[in-house]
C-alpha cells in the first residue's frame, strides 16, 4: 500500500462524493471529475507517473466523461446551456474576452517552452532484476544451474552455528575489503564512489532488493557483475564488478551470508518445481 499517496487520494474522492451529495450542476461535476482524476494520476502514486502516461489516462477520462454526458439529452443540456450562456450573454463579455485571449496565450507559451527547453540526455529504463540466464553458468570451472542452485552454507545456520558464524565473519571481511566503496558501510547503496555512478549501487537495506531475491540470483550477479547482465539490464553502464575475477566461490557465498546477516533480511527460498 506504500505505492499510493493517501493524502492525495482520500481528499479527492471525499470531495467528489461530497459534490455528488450536494447535487451541483453537470458542468461543475464534469470539471471536478476531470481535475480530481488528474490529481490522482499525477500525484496519487509515490513513484512519479511519467507525463506521457498521465496524458494517456486523461484522454481516457475525458472520453469517459464525454460519453457519460452524451448518453442523456438532459445532461447535454445541463453542460451546454451554461457554456452557451457564457458565450452569448452581454454580462459575461469581459470574462469571455479574457478567456478567449488566455487560451491562445497559454498555447503560445507552451510552444515557447518547448522550443527553448534545454534538451535532456536520452534516458534508459533498465530492468533492475532481469531473469537469470536459462543456461547454467560457469564459475571457476563449476557449472551452476541458477534455477535450482542454493547457498551450500545456508544450512550451517541450523546444523553448525559456529561454522556459520565463521563464514559470516569471512563474508564481512570480504565486504569491507571490496564492496563498501560502492554499496556503502551500512549497505544502503551510498558508498564513497556511489555519487560517481549511474546506475547507482544497489541499496541492500531496501526490502525491494535482496529480501525478494534468491541467493543463487545474488551469486550470479556477484560472479558475473555488470558485464554479465542481459541487454535490458544495461551491462555497459553498471559498475558492478564481476567478482569471479577476484573471489573464490566460497568467498562469494560467504559474502552473501553476510549481506543477509547484516541487513536482517531473509533470502527468498528456492521454489522446487
Amino acid at each position: 500500500m506504500e505505492q499510493f499517496n493517501w493524502w492525495v487520494i482520500v481528499p479527492v474522492f471525499a470531495a467528489l462524493i461530497a459534490l455528488r451529495w450536494r447535487r451541483t450542476s453537470m458542468l461543475t461535476w464534469f470539471a471536478a471529475w476531470w481535475i480530481g482524476m488528474f490529481l490522482v494520476v499525477r500525484y496519487g502514486f509515490t513513484v512519479p507517473v511519467p507525463m506521457s502516461v498521465v496524458k494517456l489516462y486523461m484522454g481516457l477520462v475525458t472520453a469517459a466523461l464525454v460519453a457519460y454526458v452524451l448518453t442523456d439529452a438532459g445532461r447535454i443540456r445541463e453542460v451546454t446551456e451554461p457554456l452557451a450562456a457564457f458565450m452569448t450573454e452581454r454580462r459575461y463579455l469581459p470574462y469571455l474576452a479574457a478567456v478567449a485571449l488566455f487560451i491562445p496565450a497559454a498555447v503560445a507559451f507552451g510552444i515557447y517552452r518547448d522550443m527553448t527547453r534545454v534538451p535532456q540526455p536520452p534516458s534508459f529504463a533498465r530492468t533492475i532484476h532481469p531473469a537469470t540466464p536459462a543456461e547454467p553458468i560457469d564459475v571457476h570451472g563449476t557449472s551452476y544451474d541458477l534455477g535450482t542452485a542454493d547457498n551450500p552454507y545456508r544450512e550451517l545456520e541450523e546444523t553448525d552455528p559456529a561454522a556459520f558464524k565463521a563464514r559470516v565473519e569471512n563474508g564481512r571481511k570480504i565486504y569491507y575489503e571490496n564492496c563498501f566503496y560502492c554499496h556503502g558501510d551500512v549497505m544502503a547503496g551510498d558508498g564513497m564512489f556511489a555519487h560517481a555512478l549511474n546506475p547507482i549501487p544497489t541499496n541492500f537495506q531496501d526490502p525491494g532488493t535482496i529480501a525478494m531475491l534468491r541467493e543463487a540470483f545474488l551469486f550470479w550477479r556477484i560472479a558475473k557483475g555488470g558485464p554479465g547482465l542481459p541487454a535490458e539490464g544495461g551491462p555497459w553502464a553498471s559498475a558492478m564488478p564481476a567478482w569471479e575475477n577476484f573471489l573464490s566461490e566460497d568467498e562469494m557465498w560467504n559474502v552473501i551470508l553476510f549481506l543477509y546477516e547484516f541487513t536482517g533480511h531473509r533470502p527468498r527460498a528456492v521454489e522446487l518445481h
Partner: protein, 615 residues
C-alpha cells in the same frame, strides 16, 4: 528503508572477547565514571554500536587498523592517540564531547574520505553518547578529568562581500598558507608532496577551491573553525590567537570566492553535471589562443571514481573530479579537460595498456613495508618512486631529501614500489583520456564504460603528459595518441582514425589539456549538432603510480552539441496564437448565431462535442 532496530539486534548478538571488554572498561570507567553505576553499562552499549558500525574501519581496539584500513587514504582514525581533526578547542586541547558527536553525525568530508555521516537513522542520541564515551575510552588522554577542553568563540561573521574576499587574498599570501596550499589554493604548495601526518602517513593538502571536499565542512563558520583550531595530528596549523578574527573571516571569504562564493544551506553541494554542452564558435579553433574561445563554454564538473571494477584496482585515486568544456565550428571540435594536481609528473611515460600487478602483488612488492613501520632508514621515496635505475642524487626540484627524515620507507600512495634511488623522476607520467564510442550508438546500447567491449569498441583520445608536455610551460602543440579499446585487456593503437591535436599546460596546480579534431570523421565518430554523444574520462596521476587500469575514471556522461542556429520561437508562437484565437472566434460566432435563430430556452441543437473540443 533503514531500520533502527538493526542496532538492537547488533547489541543482542555481539558476543565479544570478554577480556578485552574488561580491560577496556576497567581503567577509564574507574577513573572517569565512578560516580555513575550506569557508566559501565554505557560503554558496553557503546561497544555494541561500535563493533557493528565502526570497527570494520577503526579496528576492534580503536587503533585504526580495521579490515578496510589498508585500502583507505586517509586511513581511519586511530583513536588511541586522542587526536581529533575537527574541534572547537584550540590547538593542543582534546575535543569536546560535542565535537566527537558532530564528527560522527556529519562524517568527515564524505565521500572524499571514507568517514560517513551517521545521520541515517541508525544511531539515536542516547547511543551516540555511549559511542562517544567508548571512543574516549580508547585513549588514556581522556582519562585526566582536568584536561582542558575549552571551546573557542566564533564571533558573528561579517557579511560576505567580494571586496572582503579580495582583501583576504592578501592575508592568505602574508600568512604563508601558499607554502602548503599553493598560490591560488589548489593544494600544490611546494611542500605539499612532502607532508605527512602524525602517524607517518603521507597526507594530501586540501584543495581550497573545493569546499565540498572539506573534512570539517565547507560553510563559513566551519572554515573559520578549521582555520582557528587547526587539525590535530596533521600539518594543518591553527591560527586562533595568531590571527585576529577579521583576518580569519577574510581568508575564509577569499577561499570561498575561489568556488564562486558561499552556498546557501547547511551543507555544501558539489556542483556536478551530467552533460557537457559544446557551444558554437564562429572562427577557426586556434590551439595557441584557445583560452579566449573557451571563455564562452560553460564548464561541466564530472565526478571520478577509482577503477576498482577490474584487476589493477585503484582504491584511492588522486584526482576526484574533472572540469570539461567543449567548443565547435563547421569543421572542428575541441575539448578542454582540467583538474588539480599537486605536482606535474612529466617524466616517465604512461599508456592505457600498461600492466598493473594485483593489489596483493603490489603490497607484496613493497615487501610488506606497508605494514612495517619499523623499517626506517630506507632512503627510498615513500610516495612511490619506483625507478629501477638510480637517478641523480642532486636535482633542482628534489623535495625528498629536504623534508624527509628517512622515515618508514613504506609507500602508501603508490603501492608497487620496487624501492630505489631518491630522485624526483617518476616512472609514470600524468595522463588523461577522453573516451567516445567508436560509432554513434544506435538505440540505447553503449560500449562498456571501462574501455569498451568486443562488440562495441571505444576510441580513446589519450594524452601522455610525459610526452606531449615534457616541458609543461611550453604549451607545445602536438599530436595526441589514438587508441581503440575493446575492453581494458584489448587496447590497441588506432592508426586508421583521425588523430586529435593536443596542447597541455600545467599552471598553479592545474592541468589543462586541450584536444582538437575534425568534427566529421571518415572512420570514427562524427559530432553532429543537436545530438547527444556518450563521453567518459580517465585521469592518471603519475605521482600515485597510476598507469594502465590503475586510474581514476568516470561513468558515461553526455556531450551535447548546441545547434548552430537557435530557431526563433516567435513565428511559431504567433502562428499558434492567431490560429487558436481564430477558432475561438468562429466558435463563439457560431454559438451566437444559433442562439439568435432558436429560442433561448431550447439549446438542444448546439453540438456539445464542439464545445468540449474547444476547451
Amino acid at each position: 528503508m533503514r531500520r533502527p532496530d538493526l542496532l538492537r539486534e547488533a547489541a543482542a548478538g555481539s558476543g565479544c572477547a570478554p577480556w578485552r571488554l574488561v580491560r577496556r572498561l576497567a581503567v577509564p570507567s574507574l577513573l572517569l565514571l565512578l560516580p555513575s553505576v550506569a557508566g559501565a553499562q554505557d560503554l558496553e552499549r557503546g561497544k555494541a554500536v561500535y563493533d557493528k558500525y565502526c570497527s570494520q574501519c577503526h579496528g576492534e581496539t580503536g587503533d585504526g587498523k580495521g579490515i578496510a584500513a589498508s585500502r583507505l587514504r586517509p586511513e581511519p582514525r586511530d583513536f588511541t592517540a586522542g587526536k581529533y581533526k575537527v574541534r572547537m578547542t584550540p590547538t593542543g586541547q582534546l575535543p569536546t564531547d560535542q565535537d566527537i558527536r558532530n564528527a560522527i553525525r556529519k562524517g568527515l568530508g564524505f565521500p572524499y574520505t571514507a568517514m560517513p555521516p551517521f545521520d541515517r537513522g541508525l544511531i539515536d542520541d542516547a547511543e551516540l553518547d555511549d559511542l562517544v564515551a567508548y571512543l574516549k575510552s580508547f585513549s588514556s588522554a581522556f582519562a585526566d578529568p582536568d584536561a582542558q577542553r575549552q571551546p573557542i568563540d566564533i564571533p558573528a561573521p561579517p557579511p560576505y562581500t567580494p571586496a572582503g574576499a579580495e582583501a583576504g587574498r592578501e592575508v592568505y599570501e602574508r600568512t604563508g598558507c601558499a607554502a602548503c596550499h599553493g598560490n591560488v589554493g589548489r593544494g600544490d604548495g611546494f611542500s605539499a608532496p612532502t607532508l605527512r601526518d602524525d602517524w607517518g602517513q603521507p597526507i594530501r593538502v586540501a584543495d581550497l577551491t573545493k569546499p565540498w571536499t572539506f573534512r570539517g565542512g565547507g560553510r563559513r563558520e566551519d572554515i573559520f573553525r578549521t582555520m582557528s583550531t587547526g587539525f590535530a595530528g596533521t600539518p594543518m596549523p591553527g591560527f586562533h590567537g595568531a590571527l585576529p578574527p577579521e583576518d580569519i573571516w577574510a581568508i575564509t571569504d577569499y577561499m570561498l570566492s575561489l568556488s564562486g562564493g558561499p552556498q546557501e544551506g547547511d551543507t555544501v553541494e558539489a556542483p556536478y553535471a551530467n552533460v557537457v554542452r559544446a557551444v558554437v564558435v564562429d572562427q577557426p579553433i586556434d590551439l595557441a589562443a584557445a583560452d579566449e574561445l573557451f571563455a564562452a563554454a560553460p564548464p561541466a564538473l564530472f565526478p571520478l571514481l577509482g577503477q576498482i571494477v577490474e584487476p589493477g584496482r585503484d582504491f584511492y585515486p588522486s584526482v576526484v573530479e574533472v572540469a570539461v568544456q567543449a567548443i565547435y565550428n563547421q569543421d572542428e571540435i575541441a575539448f578542454r579537460v582540467s583538474w588539480h594536481d599537486m605536482r606535474a609528473e612529466t617524466t616517465g611515460h604512461n599508456a592505457p595498456d600498461l600492466p598493473v600487478p594485483s593489489w596483493e602483488e603490489q603490497l607484496a612488492e613493497t615487501g610488506g613495508a606497508a605494514a612495517d613501520e619499523e623499517s626506517g632508514g630506507d632512503e627510498d621515496d615513500f610516495w612511490g618512486v619506483g625507478t629501477e635505475e638510480s637517478g641523480e642524487e642532486e636535482s633542482a626540484d628534489d623535495f625528498w631529501g629536504v623534508e624527509e627524515s628517512g622515515g618508514a620507507g613504506d609507500d602508501f600512495w603508490g603501492t608497487g614500489d620496487e624501492g630505489g634511488a631518491t630522485t624526483p623522476d617518476k616512472e609514470f607520467s600524468d595522463a588523461v583520456a577522453i573516451q567516445f564510442p567508436q560509432a554513434m550508438p544506435q538505440g540505447v546500447v553503449k560500449p562498456y564504460f571501462i574501455f569498451g567491449d568486443a562488440q562495441n569498441p571505444v576510441d580513446l583520445w589519450f594524452a601522455d603528459l610525459g610526452k606531449v608536455a615534457r616541458d609543461p610551460a611550453a604549451a607545445e602543440i602536438t599530436e595526441a595518441d589514438l587508441w581503440t579499446g575493446r575492453g581494458s585487456a584489448a587496447m590497441t593503437p588506432n592508426d586508421a582514425g583521425d588523430v586529435p591535436e593536443v596542447v597541455a599546460r600545467y599552471q598553479e596546480g592545474e592541468w589543462s589539456v586541450v584536444f582538437k579534431r575534425k568534427r566529421r570523421s571518415r572512420g570514427g565518430l562524427s559530432f553532429n549538432p543537436s545530438t547527444f554523444v556518450p563521453i567518459a574520462f580517465s585521469v592518471w596521476d603519475g605521482f600515485n603510480r597510476e598507469r594502465g587500469n590503475k586510474r581514476a575514471l568516470s561513468a558515461w556522461f553526455d556531450l551535447y552539441l548546441e545547434p548552430f542556429e537557435r530557431p526563433n520561437p516567435l513565428p511559431a508562437m504567433a502562428k499558434a496564437f492567431g490560429g487558436v484565437l481564430g477558432l475561438e472566434i468562429l466558435l463563439i460566432a457560431f454559438v451566437r448565431w444559433r442562439r439568435r435563430r432558436t429560442a433561448p430556452a431550447s439549446a438542444d441543437a448546439a453540438r456539445p462535442a464542439t464545445a468540449y473540443e474547444s476547451s
